[in-house]
Symmetry: C2
Subunit: 351 residues, 2 copies
């Protein structure tokens, strides 16, 4: 099979067609329209084998996740996904692998729905890049800037599950079959919070999706908004599985610093909390802290003492990427804890 | 330096801002508008080190070319480039490399002009994916389908230079310094034919850019339009450098089958040839053949005899990718010549 036949064979069929798509796959470019009064939100994300997912990850999961992480960016802007393009680099033509990859991709694309309008397939180490576009009414997008002192900080869903899922697929801990399935699904098939993002358009003052860990991603809101924040770690939403398998300290560590949860973090002024309660189902979101005037991120434990992170979030090209299960329960300075930039001086670093 | 600082440091500054861009780099997604009555053309192309360019290619050239090949897709649609996103995967943070890569990218972006609105930087083997968007009046895009029997076939510029450039950078032949600079610039810094594509919008019945060799890319027009074509090889536009260094047969081989020229191939009905002559400068394009009813591509040599290609164009994952200089002058069946699909039976295979 040649390059030219790859895209039609595996990716052309069965994908939904968005009304904005005038010409889809098969020419030098696709053609799309944007309805009057609407804006386009555009994002791009790459997953590299061995960096963003283990090499042995199921191809269906790779296809699913590559789209999910991009849909999550649309959720963070409050946009309705419309179409995407796929740049797939793979070492060889493995028809079985490609069929499964496209199945995973199609499953989420059909459920969303979102159209595949263009693609490029090249030979090389396995890398999946998706660029996605979504529509939203002009001037209604959620952005990172906009958080104000006094705004409450919220997150959707649970935090830290994907981090536990990574530890599980890496064989670093053993969970029950049900718990394994739960955390690995959270890792491999994240749920982009699209409806939540759209519902927050006229309510939230800022929003971001949590791809690199709460501390790092909330940090982006703080920098863009030129504010600080205080989190109460006892309020972090933790799943039953996480609570059953980790100490509170270890669970907080994961929730704050492990990536791949793809929940939304957003801020809401106090005078819109009633609107928020009407816009999102009870239990689908949790208040975790407050925006402060003073820059920096302060994390308080159950005693109101500062809690220090081992790392600030996922960074490519950094050493010690792997979750270090051995130290989860004893994060001390001697093990390399570094305070987040702008964090208060430590009063007690052995929570 | 961390991932988060890469994009602002190297890619945020100095890029032109397109009026359609409401929010550029730095949030979960960019925000863009599309003027009323306009459509978006969207394309994506990936370059992989060792596949699409030799590993030792200058970083400025990689940056320049990654954008150029995408702009070429806009040219083939007749679109005016507006913005692009960049997904850059590189093995490590090499500040010198990144600075040069972004210089090459910026040079072409500023000259076009086109805005960088989003990006993702990841760790892994060097891979550059750009997704580009352009604007054009609704229902005016050039497409691959639309060629009619009797239409004349044209190409812009010269063909085969980039193929000779590849042979030069691979050390397979030695040229004069001036000739080396000419063909390697043609390989590394192709000129996207943007103005030509826009000028052809109401004139050409079909168009494509030549990325994989004339035979393969014209083949896409033929398949999409359900027609065939006959080319007169003596009419192929060949640069002085190509003519001086290769036999006619070898030059035709390169022009037909070597990729990376990024010229446009397009078809024009006879009743629009006058319009064409007013739309494009004389000498910037050449008539090379005619569209036929009978499917397949027929290439005729100086005696009107069928000429057979060694390969039909660049295909990833195929053996024998490299240019085989030794056989350029003697393409015989024994050396593995295969006729193009749908080509006439050979009457004489030693032209």
């Amino acid at each position: 099979m040649t390059e030219f036949e790859l895209i039609p064979r595996y990716f052309k069929q069965s994908f939904p067609t968005h009304p904005s798509v005038v010409l889809g796959l098969g020419d030098d470019a696709a053609l799309c329209t944007v309805p009057p009064g609407m804006q386009l939100a555009i994002a791009i994300d790459t997953l590299v084998a061995g960096v963003h997912f283990p090499h042995h990850t199921a191809p269906e999961d790779i296809g699913y996740k590559a789209l999910a992480v991009n849909l999550s960016d649309m959720a963070a802007m409050g946009a309705i996904p419309s179409w995407f393009t796929l740049a797939l680099t793979c070492p060889q033509i493995d028809e079985n692998w490609l069929a499964k990859f496209s199945q995973g991709l199609l499953k989420l694309a059909a459920a969303t729905p979102v159209s595949l309008i263009g693609g490029d397939t090249t030979a090389g180490p396995l890398t999946v890049t998706i660029q996605i576009a979504g529509l939203l009414p002009a001037n209604s997008a959620l952005q990172r800037r906009g958080a104000q002192p006094g705004d409450a900080i919220y997150v959707t869903g649970y935090l830290g599950d994907a981090g536990l899922g990574l530890a599980s697929v890496q064989g670093k801990l053993t969970l029950s079959p049900a718990a394994t399935q739960y955390v690995e699904t959270r890792l491999n098939r994240p749920t982009p919070r699209l409806l939540e993002g759209q519902a927050l358009r006229n309510i939230a003052t800022s929003a971001i999706d949590i791809s690199d860990g709460l501390a790092a991603d909330l940090g982006h809101i703080l920098v863009a908004s030129e504010v600080g924040a205080t989190l109460k770690l006892t309020q972090l939403p933790l799943s039953k599985v996480l609570r059953e398998h980790l100490s509170p300290t270890a669970a907080w560590q994961l929730a704050l610093s492990a990536g791949d949860d793809y929940e939304l973090c957003f801020t809401v002024p106090s005078n819109r909390e009633l609107e928020l309660s009407k816009a999102l189902p009870t239990g689908s979101y949790t208040k975790i802290g407050i925006i402060d005037q003073a820059v920096g991120l302060r994390c308080l434990d159950e005693n109101g003492q500062a809690f220090f992170l081992k790392k600030g979030g996922y960074q490519h090209w950094s050493p010690n990427q792997d979750l270090d299960c051995n130290s989860w329960n004893r994060p001390t300075k001697a093990q390399g804890i570094t305070p987040l930039e702008g964090m208060q001086s430590p009063k007690n670093n052995t929570p």
